[in-house]
Symmetry: C2
Subunit: 147 residues, 2 copies
């Protein structure tokens, strides 16, 4: 199935995994795939690190996310609630739930996010979903709306 | 699909995840499922914590493991090699590879291990596989052979 031998041991060097495979994602967010399709797995384990004051895409989709925070501080929007997160907090993002991971203003936010290899593409929120977030002062103060 | 509402946010309390679901596994090893079948996921994210001087089962199986070390120090046997591990090291255990996670003598080893929900049962190593481990002094000094 795989032509190249993928390493079985990916040591962490204090900052990153030199044997992971970096992916382009969005500005101010580092994305590294630790395990996935290339290992013949049905799921993919990705590490994301968001710079202070930035966020992941504000989106929803059919596939689910399992998230484990590894570094820093930040917030996670899940539907119509926002949670303050710290290392080792675990977060489940169910199907079609609007979500965003947001780094704090002064610390990056690093986390792993596990998904199925076969998954649908993210879609933006509806006008109604955006309106509900914008009308809630707590959510509106944390969520990043720019694409 | 699921009858009960599972929490979307599982905070870490400095020691464990009170909202995870603990499972019986083997003596001296704590096992907590953070996400899995109950969330309607195709994969399962389990946290294991092995007490100092103990180990996971010495086994092999068709399903693969994706492992991320979270706490402590220890060793991972993968086939005919052993790796010293520390937090955030990532380990891939391919199909049918004999493996064991071993806590150091003075620190527990905590890690998450991700697997498919649908998976085969583990099987013990063959006599030949055991012999090869026992004949290698480095492996033999670390691996725990008792069931």
């Amino acid at each position: 199935m795989k032509r190249k031998k993928w390493p079985v041991f990916l040591p962490y060097d204090g900052d990153t995994w030199p044997d992971g495979y970096p992916m382009r994602y969005r500005p101010y967010v580092k994305k590294i795939v630790l395990f996935g399709k290339r290992n013949g797995l049905n799921f993919e384990v990705r590490y994301f690190e968001i710079e202070p004051g930035y966020a992941s895409s504000l989106e929803k989709h059919q596939h689910q996310h399992a998230v484990l925070i590894l570094k820093g501080r930040g917030y996670v929007l899940i539907g119509d609630r926002i949670y303050e997160v710290k290392p080792y907090d675990a977060v489940w993002i169910p199907s079609w739930t609007p979500h965003q991971l947001i780094a704090s203003e002064d610390e990056p936010l690093g986390f792993i996010c596990i998904v199925d290899v076969e998954r649908d593409r993210p879609t933006p929120l509806s006008e109604e979903e955006l309106r509900r977030i914008k009308e809630d002062p707590e959510l509106a103060s944390k969520v990043k709306f720019e694409r």
